[in-house]
Symmetry: C2
Subunit: 516 residues, 2 copies
């Protein structure tokens, strides 16, 4: 989600300007009420949006069929483990060599606790969650042109930013710069607050002393017995700090979605879709490659073939259709919808993203560097390194996320390389942060989302203009067809967006179905 802040905000503003009455968000699990006797729905796609639609419509009494292109459910909610094979668009196959228990989630990997629809789904299916470590104060910030390329600990940068900002504001306050805007009483409260928050000394200065080190960390920590006394660490001066560009790297965890508590499903992101697929059982038909969707006044007909043996066409008809196929794929199909909806489907580009999972012989980041989970951020083309938030201190091989790019130049560059070359690049760049990389490397797997056959991109990349032009038309119930998925939401790329889109779509579809 890095770099999505500004764009996201613009999106929401564009949305607000559409003039909806502000009411409320997700209100908890839905109950659709009863379907008309004999009513049927065909759901296209067995990702989260499709499966949730199928579950709720089935529970309401609809006869439900789900067509899924792959031989598994979950879509982008996907986990790669040792023994898995994955083939990219050009036919390049990777055999995942990870040790038992290790995995990579190539798509979504985090569950914010304030994504209430997702939390309800996890609760409903009894999938165990464990904390995902988003902000680790001991992880690194890295800028190639700062500190001679030497990674800095997050806690040093974040404490020093707070220290310098509070010192500067204290100084300005004491010099009367705020006298016009706040009362004398508030000024005193502000100074006390700044001093405490910034770990300033009694003169409101941010300096090397043992109190400040209780926040930024010590050079020599307090010990026991007759050990060496504690030694304060030296803050980074303001100029160096501003020059380092690391300030821009400390704020990610302040975003609402990354606020603690943030979770991940124990064992991999596909545990929830697997539970949902078990719930749906025989309703899902796998290896079904849809090529055409027709509708008329009374039904929808979907034409598909066996994805493993293209050729002989099959078809299925139903009263209604929920289509969760990504617009990137849908635009390559023949689907009978309004020209306005079709224009939207054809116009929505998909964002580029890469993930590279690297397995190492041991958790050197924990053992050598005291980094337990969390994310190191870098301006190198790999973007970040994320350490596993599970099985802390377990001996033996472990998988970290060695690159995660989204809509950066390097994201396109990585997608142009073979998986092997991508992995080599992740190792080369990553070793600038962790020199242990080259000695400890075991194997890797690389996923470039534009090369993933069944989505050919990462998520629907709305610009303000596109959204203003097409979103409303795409989100309508068009005759007997409704679209759903993260691309039909204001939370692109998030599972919560896909699920909210699905819940909203099926409520409107059901309302129409019982009224006609």
């Amino acid at each position: 989600m890095i770099g999505q802040v500004a764009g996201g905000s613009a999106m929401y503003q564009a949305m607000s300007s559409l003039g909806h009455a502000a009411e409320s968000g997700y209100q908890g699990p839905i109950t659709l009420g009863k379907a008309k006797p004999g009513a049927s729905v065909v759901v296209l796609g067995a990702g989260l949006a499709g499966m949730l639609a199928a579950v709720e419509l089935r529970n309401a009494g609809y006869k439900v069929s789900v067509l899924e292109y792959q031989n598994r459910a979950g879509g982008r909610s996907w986990t790669l483990r040792g023994g898995d094979r994955y083939t990219e668009l050009d036919g390049t196959t990777q055999n995942v060599g990870f040790a038992k228990g290790n995995y990579l989630n190539p798509g979504p990997w985090r569950v914010p606790h304030n994504h209430h629809a997702m939390m309800d789904l996890y609760r409903r299916y009894g999938v165990q969650l464990e904390p995902f470590n988003q902000v680790n104060h001991s992880a690194y910030l890295h800028q190639t042109r700062a500190f001679g390329g030497k990674p800095q600990r997050f806690h040093h940068i974040s404490t020093d930013v707070r220290g310098h900002v509070t010192e500067l504001l204290s100084k300005a306050t004491q010099q009367g710069a705020l006298d016009a805007s706040i009362t004398a009483e508030d000024r005193e409260k502000l100074l006390a607050g700044l001093r405490s928050w910034g770990a300033l000394d009694k003169n409101y200065r941010y300096t090397a002393n043992l109190h400040a080190s209780e926040f930024r960390g010590f050079d020599v920590p307090p010990g026991g017995g007759l050990m060496s006394p504690a030694k304060a660490s030296e803050p980074i001066d303001l100029h160096t700090l501003l020059d380092s560009k690391m300030w821009s790297q400390i704020g990610m965890g302040n975003m609402h979605e990354f606020h603690t508590t943030i979770f991940q499903p124990v064992g991999g992101m596909d545990t929830l879709p697997q539970a949902m697929a078990r719930d749906l059982g025989g309703l899902i038909q796998y290896n079904a490659k849809v090529s055409k969707v027709e509708q008329n006044a009374s039904s929808v007909t979907v034409h598909y073939s066996d994805a493993r043996h293209p050729g002989a066409m099959r078809k299925i008809s139903a009263d209604w259709c929920v289509c969760t196929i990504p617009a990137s794929i849908l635009s390559q199909m023949d689907i009978q919808v309004s020209s306005a909806m079709r224009a939207g489907i054809d116009s929505l580009p998909y964002a580029s993203s890469n993930k590279i999972g690297l397995e190492f012989k041991r958790r050197f980041w924990e053992e050598d560097e005291h980094i337990y989970g969390g994310i190191s951020l870098t301006d190198l083309p790999i973007g970040q390194i994320s350490y596993p938030s599970t099985d802390y201190m377990r001996p033996g091989p472990a998988v970290l996320l060695g690159a995660y790019t989204m809509e950066t130049n390097s994201s396109y560059r990585l997608a142009s390389l073979s998986p092997k070359e991508r992995i080599r690049m992740a190792l080369e760049y990553g070793s600038q942060i962790h020199p242990q990389y080259l000695k400890e490397f075991k194997c890797g797997v690389a996923v470039a989302w534009h090369r993933v056959p069944w989505v050919q991109g990462c998520y629907g990349k709305w610009s303000d203009e596109l959204r203003a032009q097409h979103y409303q038309a795409m989100a309508q119930v068009d005759g007997r067809i409704v679209l759903a998925g993260e691309h039909l939401s204001y939370l692109p790329a998030w599972q919560e967006g896909a699920v909210l889109s699905s819940l909203d779509a099926i409520q409107r579809l059901h309302a129409k179905a019982i009224s006609v």
Copy 2:
């Protein structure tokens, strides 16, 4: 650890002024080298300090005996579970009624990842750690006199503090208040940094808009399909924020020891001492109440009785003695040490602390309020409420920490009440934050550390003056006796302090033992 910041800092400063050469802290697991053939040690106390001393001395070849007053190892590293009985100093017994799997850690409960000696111990004994949730952005801050007593979400207060501080400093910067102290180029970088960090708008104002809400949270979050559009939340104005005193409550997680990643042992704090006790096996003699420790030029003799049947005295002799009995208890014994060490033992007061564990029928804080682990802080006498950092979303009863006080007036007040009255008080105050308390309460257990028979206090409470006067003498190897424990460290109350004290003490004891 609340409220320990200022005192701690003063302590460290006092220590530095003693003029030690600053060198380094803990350097990893120790190896003592070989003991003299036949050399023996008696260790008093089977808490962490005592057991680690026993393990290392045994490994070096010493003949080791450990005397422990209780019928279990671990000392303050203690876990209370359903079925446990606990009797306070005045004879009041509590039978813990928690459901299976639920527990309270009355003493230490957190393992900072930067407490390297403890992390090494957990690794060495293969005890599984899980993240302890210290800062939960959705937990509450509560001040009885602010917001009509209504708890506020941490993320609102913390985002608004950052927003107002950055807006004020931007304003002062733009008005030239910093022109004398920073260059024009740095000023521009500072403004860009403030805008990004504080989620300010393009005019450097912190206002209600969708961008700021991406940090502080939305009133209506972005949805899917045709759901209501996102609605920005309204920041708290600066005056109200300063007046609320909540600013003082947001900084705890910025302290180095509370930096992510912070852990807890899976299943309770006593898992490590239990593993260490298994390692020591028959070397520990339980129910041994020490009353007298004598030494002469060649040996130490410890007199003790069976704690369950006081009367008949026994004694044990050894070449050396490591005494980890808290000073609060040791001061009531006859121990033959220098008058300087004795003066220290007699002078050190022990801090007051209370913990109250409350079991509720369900996790209403998760289900109703989206609070998964973490701590709500309040100015009520209960101090804080800490929600369990484990088994998230598990149905059925769960235990939260309903009060945690340390050296506050309420800490003394709680200790003056019976356990039942303490629990009633915790329920009464806690229900001001969680009205569900009264309906959902099952049972509770209360531990007032001044009433715990085997320590009669929580931790050694050094003042600067006391430390300057007595610490050095107490930490010496006194003839054949050395003291160890958190009270012989610069990290009072922390397990890390106890363990560093122990490692330092036995290294000096061993050096003396092989040289005489």
